[in-house]
């Protein structure tokens, strides 16, 4: 009875908050509305929808032994307390994606992105993560690719592998671009990001050679050094001689990130990757807690309107109308296909009880979605004029500050050169114009929040702390992603020539790492030389790829549900699948066939080619134009390939489903037989 009352109260408060957000117009709204709406929506989704799915659709069996118990080896298969698994799972899924996507989508206003983050997560993303986690737990912790192969057939498995590899390459490229744009001509940011590398090496040696396995003390030392690195960057910035050493152009920083990615992929993990992983996890959890605390303390007003005129597709940060592009731009934070790879890899091997899938799968994604809401708040509390000045490339608004503020003020978002100059000065930067990629504007937002809470004197340090925090995250994803991409490529190439598949054979390691790095390095380089900022092209490509991976994961889930006789419940995953299929296909269609050069890849290439031929481009732009033209055409073909792969998987799933419903033979279920648990059931389940 009490629980029911609580549910009703949550529903009422949540409805009020969402109504308040949606109906508030023409006056600033307080960030607390978003926080309240978020908490209520997640609590309702968790309390009712997730509980219903686990009970009725999955029929979770708390007495059934999990792989962690049956295959316990004290290493990867270990029955673990559900809150510990929650922590591990959250640390693995939460990357820079939910920080960048909402920041970019704020060009439509705060409302569309916020609603999609809330609805997309409770009905889509959380359900996807939980379902894949559950299915993998029933299958000895098999990966998404293996499940696709086992349950749908070899094609599904192959599509999942190729899809994963391609999205990894695009993801790393776009994240690399975000870091490069944050460091470009900023000695302070460059120094504090560079400093993370020797610090990670030091921590790596410490935790392996000096005090083996003492992760906590090593991480503590590392985090203190990182903070000193941020302060040291401020000192470097003051010194006339040192400044020049860390003042680099975009292309040279891109070259650095590319070389770094290759070295990181071939170095032993203990030296760089593992310690960076520890540091980024600590920073991530610390910053999220600090940010939530600070937002509640200062209760900032959002200055961005609920909707901007850019919902019509003329947005400067990326082209395309609100439908489908808000759903593409915010992938992580609402639905992220990538999570299915985590939910089907490490995590299911730790679950002590099946019933824990609700907390671990659904709950972790709800928390990540909440991080996305905070990123949305940090982006929209800036003056809209400032937000657009930071996030729009010089190719769109004009190369000089005067031209940029004139263009942006002309859109109805007043901003002045003085205002930008004094903001840049406060943040310890030379300029904040055209720092595209989302990280700098998020850092300005975070610095204002932290500055208002903990004292404004250190704004520059807060800004660079926020940048360093994002960079550590991103470099971890670059390292880990390149490595995983290398393993996948070796797996693939090993089928043609066996020695290439050996993960410890050095020639193969060097070659495959170089191939992966060359893949993302190409897109990164093109993004850096693109006068429009590059993000406008790469981020939609990444969003489409990530949502398509989600469509593959949801197809696997739907196929398995139907095969196990749960046709009438299959809408739980088929619904989000249908939505993603519509959204991604529409987006892909527009990116390929649109005649608007701002939106369509082919149209963009043709437009640039025409300008090049007529001699309308300034010499600097003309020099890079052929590369940009080729790249846009390549992006168009990639989009076509992504779309075809997804539709092949969906059709394959429908074929299996049709056969299953009509009693025709299909692949055997790969579910492991039931065994009764010997563990105490009391520990798991419940709410």
């Amino acid at each position: 009875m009490l629980k029911r009352l609580l549910g009703v109260a949550l529903a009422v408060i949540g409805a009020f908050a969402i109504g308040g957000i949606a109906l508030h117009r023409h006056e600033p709204i307080n960030a607390l509305w978003l926080i309240t709406a978020g908490i209520c929506v997640y609590a309702l989704g968790y309390r009712f929808y997730a509980a219903w799915i686990t009970a009725r659709v999955f029929a979770v069996d708390a007495t059934r032994a999990t792989p962690a118990e049956r295959l316990n080896n004290g290493r990867d298969f270990v029955p673990t307390h559900r809150w510990i698994v929650f922590g591990h799972h959250f640390a693995a899924i939460a990357g820079p994606g939910p920080l960048v996507g909402p920041t970019l989508a704020a060009q439509f206003g705060y409302l569309p992105g916020t609603l999609w983050i809330l609805i997309g997560s409770v009905l889509g993303g959380c359900v996807q993560d939980m379902t894949i986690l559950f299915l993998s737990t029933r299958r000895d912790g098999r990966s998404l690719g293996q499940m696709a192969r086992d349950e749908l057939g070899p094609f599904g498995g192959f599509a999942a592998l190729i899809g994963t590899l391609m999205i990894m390459i695009i993801l790393i490229a776009v994240l690399g671009l975000v870091v490069v744009n944050a460091m470009k001509h900023s000695p302070w940011a460059t120094f504090s990001v560079f400093a993370t590398i020797p610090i990670a090496l030091l921590v790596g040696v410490y935790v392996r050679n000096v005090r083996p396995g003492r992760v906590l003390e090593a991480s503590l030392i590392g985090v203190i050094l990182l903070l000193l690195g941020v302060l040291g960057g401020g000192w470097v910035d003051q010194s006339a001689t040192l400044r020049g050493l860390f003042d680099s152009t975009g292309p040279s920083l891109a070259g650095f990130v590319i070389a770094y990615g290759w070295v990181a992929a071939i170095l032993p993990v203990w030296l760089l990757l593992a310690p960076r992983g520890y540091l980024s996890t600590f920073l991530k959890l610390g910053v999220i807690v600090l940010l939530a605390f600070a937002i509640v303390v200062i209760r900032p007003e959002l200055k961005m309107p609920a909707l901007t005129q850019f919902i019509d597709g003329t947005g400067p940060i990326f082209g395309g109308k609100i439908f489908p592009f808000v759903f593409i731009t915010i992938a992580c934070g609402a639905v992220s296909g990538f999570h299915a790879l985590i939910s089907s890899g490490t995590t299911p091997k730790l679950l002590a009880n099946e019933a824990d899938v609700r907390l671990v799968g659904y709950g972790s994604m709800a928390l990540e979605s909440f991080v996305a809401i905070m990123a949305m708040i940090a982006a929209t509390l800036l003056d809209p004029g400032v937000y657009f000045a930071i996030n729009t490339g010089a190719g769109v608004v004009g190369a000089t500050p005067a031209a940029a503020v004139a263009t942006i003020s002309g859109w109805g978002f007043p901003v002045t050169v003085d205002q930008m100059a004094s903001l840049a000065h406060e943040m310890g930067e030379h300029t904040l114009f055209a720092r595209t990629g989302g990280a700098p504007s998020l850092a300005v937002g975070m610095a204002s929040i932290f500055g208002s809470t903990f004292g404004r004197g250190l704004l520059g340090a807060w800004y660079h702390f926020a940048l360093m925090f994002e960079a550590v995250f991103i470099l971890t994803t670059i390292d880990a992603g390149t490595r995983v991409g290398r393993f996948m490529l070796q797996d693939l190439l090993g089928q043609f020539w066996q020695p290439l598949g050996r993960t410890s054979w050095y020639p193969s390691v060097l070659l495959t790492s170089a191939l992966i790095v060359a893949g993302w390095g190409y897109f990164l380089y093109i993004g850096v030389i693109d006068p429009n900022g590059g993000v406008n092209i790469l981020w939609p490509l990444f969003g489409i790829a990530n949502q398509m991976l989600a469509a593959i994961a949801l197809s696997v889930a739907t196929g398995i549900l139907i095969k196990s006789g749960k046709l009438r419940y299959s809408w739980v995953t088929a619904g989000p699948l249908a939505w993603l299929a519509i959204v991604t296909t529409t987006a892909a269609w527009q990116k390929v066939v649109s005649t608007d050069p701002h939106l369509g890849f082919f149209a963009g290439a043709a437009d640039l080619a025409r300008k090049l031929a007529s001699g309308a481009l300034p010499p600097a732009s003309a020099a890079v134009a052929p590369k940009l033209i080729f790249n846009q055409q390549l992006d168009a073909w990639l989009t076509v390939i992504f779309t075809l792969i997804v539709w092949f998987v969906i059709v394959d799933m429908l074929r299996i489903a049709w056969r299953s419903v009509h009693g025709l033979p299909t692949q055997m279920s790969s579910e492991a037989p039931r065994q009764i648990t010997q563990l105490q059931v009391a520990g798991g389940g419940g709410s």
């Binding site: 510990i84 899924i93 990357g95 820079p96 083996p212 396995g213 992938a331 990538f338 985590i342 880990a480």
Partner: protein, 69 residues
């Protein structure tokens, strides 16, 4: 034990539990976990050294996808 006032004891227990959880979640106590598991399941086989265990753990943890976007 009885001499400590109730709230102080609770505070101490709370801190202890918190510390234990922090060590577990960060993997700080992984070696102890391994030793106790090893002692339970194969009491007579030799155990890995702290460093060898740490290296083996890293090789396992970082061979698959464990970081996301």
């Amino acid at each position: 034990m009885n001499a400590t006032p109730g709230w102080l004891g609770m505070l101490r227990d709370g801190a202890r539990t918190g510390w234990r959880w922090l060590r577990r979640i960060s993997g700080d106590d992984a070696f102890e976990q391994y030793l106790s598991h090893h002692a339970r399941t194969h009491p007579h086989a030799p155990t890995l050294s702290r460093r060898a265990f740490y290296e083996a753990e890293l090789a396992r943890k970082w061979s698959g996808i464990n970081r996301c976007c």
